[in-house]
Subunit: 454 residues, 2 copies
């Protein structure tokens, strides 16, 4: 049998992150303040350290990875690139399928790639305390672990529906010494405002971000950390794609298509952007973002300026959005339940340089179970979205007889999501399509700035 | 920073398992039938395929690993050997601490090392169906996954207390296509007999084994697979120690002490026996088995012939035992709740060639949390037992100032054990010492054979 895992040495951990801004055909649109005017870097200083703000606005292609960050990366990186020989055999496809497994991190997903970087830069700036939000718990776990590594106290606002569905993600964060609060909570003005009008609110990432940002803004010893969406987060995640490229080189192969699930965009951006550099240089490679039909930000959202949180505490960003007041159905891929999307991913999609596809929930679990039975690993529900599309590509290859090299990122394991698998087996999972009316209504909700639809 | 992970290539996966019998100073005592006379290999033919029976009685030092088994091993093997630099720093010890992480297997522990082998040999013998028992769920998960890989239907009798404490282990097995039954169940005569006298029995491995063996014996299409205790199981697990030796060679170091938790003995035997070969050849290395104070088989049990299950369906084996009717306290290290111990481990301990130590439950969680906060990975409660002793060794090294090379096996992750961590944090975990009266009472329970105490 051929090699199953394509491994790299610790010395192969990238020494620089890649910044896709350097290769984008048009510069990214600036974030706007509440007055509709572009904001400068200093507007972010209340919640981010300087090093992060510099990365956020950087146009440099390569950003150095500090050695203390690489030292923590060594604990699980480089992650393995797998050749999915058993899945290929199960599907009877002539396609070659590869996946990179980010679930080997102690927190079980790709999220620590940026959590460790953010904890380090805050630690270096003398920050002792970080707040954040978490949906499925993957980001919160990652920051809990990373905070512990640098002696930073972490407080996590966890979307209530996930807090209830995934009590053991909370225990995991507590094991790493972190306090977890169900959001909306009564601890912030933003939370109380929501609870007043909707006491049984399931919460949303937008609300949890409002709470975490509010607390960071109101305390001088406290900064905020975001797990996705922003440029610096996607920059940190490019260790995924940079390693993948080295691994394909080692395997003597190159992908025809890169597939990754896309919520806020950090997994997709981190996986695909280093390949965008090749694409920009003329190489043929498709980059496909996969989102849930119940939260179809890229495929059915508006491309407009909107805020990143429900309360409008963040700057306005030009992105695909379902509206900041969007509260998505309680699907199980909690990491994909966000109203907006990374401005970088949004712009590349808007310019036709990347693809996006929305898939229904049940079919993603079906794909994940097929994968688990062939490859052993039980995937996170988020990752099942990428697996669905990868399997569809492989089956198309089978129909046409055309061999093809398919890559997807297995962004995390499903060890804390077995309740969702239970409900799938019990026939209790729904396919929720997002209603047209809500998409229309979001238009009226958009902030009134000159560049937005009237 | 030095290398954190000492990795091997897939080509370094051992081509042979190691059989410690070849290096033991005295041959192992034979298993006995109910009449007290040694049984031959054919007595096992009702539940095991020939290849497994040959391994069970083999005295060959090296047993070839079939290529289809190595091909499945490639999915996660060789497992990494970690240098615990951050734990060393946290403890301020001059000791060098290493651990091999078996939790990278899809089932999350070392158990697939033998599950895959057993599924393969049964598949090759034309068996379509396997029954087994599981305590913490790690063995059941491993056999569920392995069965799926070879197209074998698997039925798992899961100790009721674990079934209730760990519903997501059940979901995991179901995701791999396996049926899970809480034990004692009404599906077997053995189960019904227990339920009649004790309807709320928490179950035990001994009872679950009775149920699984009864079903395998009564159906001609069905074999039985055991996750620990027997010689062939420990043989398969030696891939752990064989890889560890190669990794120490690569690191230019050699352990002064090998530490592994010990329930039925498969993790300890698999980790330590390849080093016993060195010890037998004159090299100085300590081999330490760690068990819970609440189930002190080696440290306080009787060295006597006893059966492996509650109903007396298995042959009698000479081993340390707390008595086959032993029902241990519902501690959280479900994988260490077994009345007996591997005859090979027992004999080596009886002859003073290995060490054993029993540790209380709370202090193992304390050690596991110290480990998680330094090294990131959240360990299984079973593994916390080894971590406790490894930390104690490192602290002793700190006191004496003597550098030392300490190795322990991190046999699995704790992703399905977060409820136990919750209870630890809530102060609800007890330190249960096993009562002297029960140890005395077990004497009277021992089977009446010539070599047992009267």
């Amino acid at each position: 049998m051929s090699q199953v895992k394509i491994l790299l040495d610790e010395s192969d951990i990238p020494r620089h992150w890649y910044n896709v801004v350097a290769d984008m055909p048009t510069p990214p649109a600036p974030p706007l303040g509440p007055d509709g005017n572009p904001i400068g870097p200093d507007a972010l200083a209340a919640i981010f350290p300087d090093a992060i703000i510099e990365q956020e606005v950087s146009r440099e292609r390569w950003i150095p990875i500090p050695e203390p960050v690489r030292d923590i990366y060594r604990m699980w990186r480089p992650t393995p690139l797998y050749r999915a020989l058993r899945l290929e055999a199960a599907l009877g496809t002539p396609a070659r399928i590869y996946y990179k497994y980010e679930g080997v991190s102690p927190a079980g997903s790709h999220k620590p790639n940026t959590a460790v970087a953010q904890a380090y830069f805050n630690h270096k700036a003398g920050v002792r305390r970080l707040t954040t939000e978490t949906g499925s718990g993957q980001w919160g776990s990652a920051l809990a672990m990373a905070g512990q590594m640098f002696g930073i106290e972490v407080r996590v606002f966890m979307v209530r529906v996930s807090y209830e569905q995934k009590p053991f993600r909370r225990s995991m964060m507590e094991t790493w010494g972190t306090e977890v609060i169900a959001s909306p909570s009564s601890e912030t003005r933003s939370g109380r405002r929501i609870l007043d009008s909707q006491p049984d609110s399931p919460g949303s990432l937008g609300i949890a971000i409002s709470e975490a940002v509010e607390e960071a803004v109101s305390r001088s010893d406290t900064n905020y950390a975001l797990g996705s969406v922003l440029n610096h987060v996607l920059i940190h995640q490019t260790v995924i794609g940079l390693e993948t490229k080295k691994q394909f080189e080692k395997a003597g192969d190159y992908p025809d298509v890169i597939i990754a699930c896309c919520g806020g965009g950090s997994n997709f951006g981190g996986s695909a952007f280093p390949f965008f550099a090749d694409k920009a240089a003329g190489r043929k490679v498709r980059l496909v973002a996969v989102e849930p039909e119940s939260c179809p930000t890229l495929t059915r959202g508006h491309y407009a300026y909107d805020s990143g949180d429900t309360e409008g505490l963040t700057p306005l960003m030009l992105m695909y959005t379902l509206g900041r007041n969007f509260i998505p159905p309680s699907i199980h891929a909690g990491g994909l339940r966000y109203h907006g999307d990374s401005p970088l991913v949004s712009q590349l999609y808007h310019e036709g340089l990347i693809e996006a596809v929305a898939v229904p929930q049940r079919t993603t679990f079906e794909a994940g179970i097929t994968f688990a039975r062939a490859e052993g690993i039980i995937p996170a529900p988020e990752s099942n979205h990428a697996i669905r599309v990868a399997i569809d590509e492989a089956l198309a290859s089978k129909r046409t007889g055309e061999p093809k090299t398919i890559y997807f990122t297995l962004s995390g394991h499903g060890h804390f999501d077995m309740g969702a698998y239970d409900r799938y087996f019990a026939g209790q999972l729904e396919d929720t399509s997002y209603p047209d009316e809500a998409i229309q209504a979001a238009l009226a909700d958009l902030p009134k700035v000159a560049r937005n639809p009237a």
